[in-house]
């Protein structure tokens, strides 16, 4: 489905919102204001944006350790996100979860996950619930190329296929799992080669092109809504920063040339060039969006910095739901 101009604007808005949020988070991390691990999404924005623009608000998302992008794309509140990443009381998880467990169940974002493959079965459970309830909501599982080698992924996707559940599987193939190249750990050219083994259709898209991702997601979501079961989308993409943290160049496991070649295909720059050249969105409008988002991100940083650390009294709350009978 050809995207309308409104859709294009939305794609751009969400990509840029992710990018600016992540760059700010990276700066805070470098400035030692962000504790723990930080897995930045920069480079892959077209995937989260493309899929989430195609989704309905009631559709759910399960995510990974690299989950900020999915929450931003789902409409996450940047204030709460930034505060959470800083371990503050006003964060999404009141500081208890951090980057790897960020979530917003009201937005149907069922959480990042610290365990590779851990979130995929949860998306399948949400898909099961949708089918059980007889609604036409779809759940989307985002996962990395590396995670397709772990057992939980395999069990989950097979179960979704066998039970014909309304789930969309979105593999963000950035060619690395941490510091290991994909060709070292799987003997296939494309991750999508696995789809046939589950009896579901698979499609490869250019993960640096939000429109391509969007179109594939529209298809996959529609198929799921029609009750025809899961689809597997492999989006070829790249993360610019290191697996964890911010360093970009000068690393042993990949060459600077490779990084630069991918950056030349940048999903936001390319998108902006194409839409302005085609006269679909004006350069001014794009610039205005950027100004607006920069302000939002700046405010989020301030919000996070000003938010207090959680009260010690909350340490032992939220372990169980209290029974009220």
């Amino acid at each position: 489905m050809e995207p309308t101009v409104d859709i294009l604007k939305d794609l751009h808005y969400r990509m840029l919102r992710i990018r600016l949020f992540e760059e700010a988070a990276g700066r805070l991390f470098e400035g030692n204001k962000m504790p723990g691990f930080l897995h930045l999404y920069v480079g892959q924005e077209a995937v989260a944006a493309g899929v989430c623009v195609a989704m309905r608000d009631d559709d759910q998302v399960s995510s990974t350790h690299r989950g900020h992008g999915h929450l931003v794309a789902k409409g996450g509140d940047l204030n709460k996100m930034m505060a959470e990443l800083m371990g503050k009381a006003d964060g999404y998880c009141n500081g208890k979860g951090g980057s790897m467990h960020i979530c917003d169940l009201d937005l149907n974002m069922l959480g990042a996950n610290g365990i590779v493959g851990g979130g995929t079965p949860i998306a399948v459970g949400a898909g099961f619930a949708n089918k059980y309830k007889g609604n036409d909501t779809v759940s989307v599982a985002f996962f990395g190329d590396g995670s397709t080698n772990i057992g939980a992924f395999h069990e989950a996707i097979n179960m979704a296929a066998a039970l014909r559940l309304p789930v969309l599987f979105v593999c963000e193939n950035n060619e690395y799992g941490e510091y290991t190249r994909r060709d070292k750990v799987m003997a296939i050219n494309d991750v999508v080669d696995r789809a046939a083994g589950y009896g579901i259709p698979g499609v490869i898209v250019d993960g640096m092109d939000a429109v391509a991702v969007y179109e594939a997601a529209v298809e996959g979501l529609a198929r799921a809504r029609r009750g025809e079961g899961p689809t597997f989308i492999e989006a070829k993409t790249y993360r610019y920063y290191n697996h964890h943290g911010v360093q970009t160049l000068g690393m042993k496991y990949r060459t600077d040339e490779e990084v630069d070649a991918w950056k030349a295909k940048d999903c936001i720059e390319g998108f902006e060039r194409r839409v302005t050249e085609a006269g679909l969105i004006s350069a001014d409008e794009l610039a205005a969006v950027r100004v607006e988002l920069e302000a939002e991100v700046e405010a989020a940083v301030e919000f996070g910095e000003n938010s207090p650390l959680p009260e010690v009294s909350t340490l032992l709350t939220d372990v169980y739901t209290e029974v009220s009978r």
Binding site: N113, G125, Y132, K133, E155, D318, Y320, V323
Partner: protein
């Protein structure tokens, strides 16, 4: 006995029958409840636990899954977070080890990691215990591992009536619970109220009152301890048997009160002694009743080896009434026959 406990007029049901009846009644009451697991639908469960459910509730609510324990638990998590009330079955307790990430890293921690913004009304049912020559990978009692994980509740019923009432509590509970049936009790009969009732989680039960020694036991070790207590009664020993029923949360108050009364405690379980729940119970009792104890808290449990296949070995592996009696006599400082 609290108000929600079984009443007087009851029929007899088997342990499995009580489980099955509770499921029928729960599923009639609440459309959000479904069961999922290997062979739980068409076959009614390999032990018959789920017999007949598919006939009344259909394939939609009785879901035969692939052999995929991680995805089975994950299915439950995702569905529970989405507002359903899943019961997922792992055929043998040993298989929790296959799904341990989903159980202990995901289900148990989800609510906390999310800062409280999630409710997880998930029940996992499974079957534990030795004594049927099922060997090392189909006989374990692994409750100690589960009890050590904040966020889970763990239930080990010792009678048909408890099984029914505790299952109801688990399913109605808004937290992940694991209910462990004991394989050797499937056919055991007992009085079970017909109506749907709940035995609250975390509330133990004084199964037998006594004055000389407290025996803390759960699951199948309760009837074994009762046998031991009967025998010892003939020799003038008065045993109090306390069954915590829920091993997480543990009804420490009840155990401590009994320990303070009898001044001697023997903990019994089927699990391996080292690092078993008996260690936690002993640790808590000596913490809370130190000045009352006339002897160390003793533990009767399985020895430190995997579970052997041969009945010739297995019968020496699993604690029984004889070993329990001996342990009690030792703790009382009395002569142990044949020792």
């Amino acid at each position: 006995m609290t108000a929600t406990e079984p009443e007087a007029e009851v029929r007899e049901l088997t342990y499995l029958g009580a489980f099955n009846e509770a499921l029928f009644q729960l599923m009639r009451e609440d459309e959000d409840i479904f069961i999922a697991g290997e062979d739980v639908g068409l076959t009614g469960g390999v032990f018959g636990s789920f017999a007949g459910l598919i006939d009344e509730f259909g394939e939609r609510r009785c879901v035969d899954t692939p052999i995929s324990e991680q995805a089975i638990v994950g299915l439950g998590i995702g569905a529970a977070v989405s507002g359903l009330r899943p019961i997922v079955d792992l055929m043998f307790m040993d298989f929790i080890l296959v799904a341990m990430d989903q159980i202990a890293n995901q289900a148990a921690k989800l609510k906390y990691m999310f800062g409280g913004n999630a409710t997880l009304p998930l029940t996992i049912t499974t079957n534990g215990g030795a004594g049927v020559s099922a060997a090392a990978q189909h006989s374990q009692s692994l409750e100690a591992m589960l009890c050590h994980v904040p966020g889970l509740k763990v239930v080990m019923p010792s009678s048909p009536a408890d099984l029914k009432g505790l299952l109801v509590a688990c399913v109605r509970e808004d937290n992940p619970t694991i209910l462990v049936k004991n394989k050797r009790m499937f056919g055991k009969r007992g009085p079970v109220p017909e109506a749907l009732y709940e035995i609250p989680l975390g509330v133990g039960n004084v199964v037998r009152e006594g004055t000389d020694v407290t025996v803390v036991a759960y699951g199948r070790m309760v009837p074994e301890s009762e046998k031991a207590a009967e025998r010892l009664a003939e020799e003038g020993v008065s045993c109090e048997i306390v069954d915590p029923r829920t091993v997480q949360p543990l009804d420490t108050d009840l155990l401590v009160a009994s320990a303070r009364k009898t001044n001697r405690v023997v903990v019994v379980h089927e699990a391996v002694r080292f690092g078993g729940l008996g260690a936690e119970i002993a640790a808590q009792i000596q913490e809370e009743a130190f000045d009352y104890l006339d002897a160390p808290v003793a533990r009767i449990a399985a020895p430190f080896s995997p579970i052997p296949f041969s009945p010739g070995l297995e019968r020496h592996y699993v604690p029984n009434a004889k070993r329990i009696s001996e342990g009690i006599l030792e703790t009382l400082g009395r002569p142990v026959p044949g020792a």
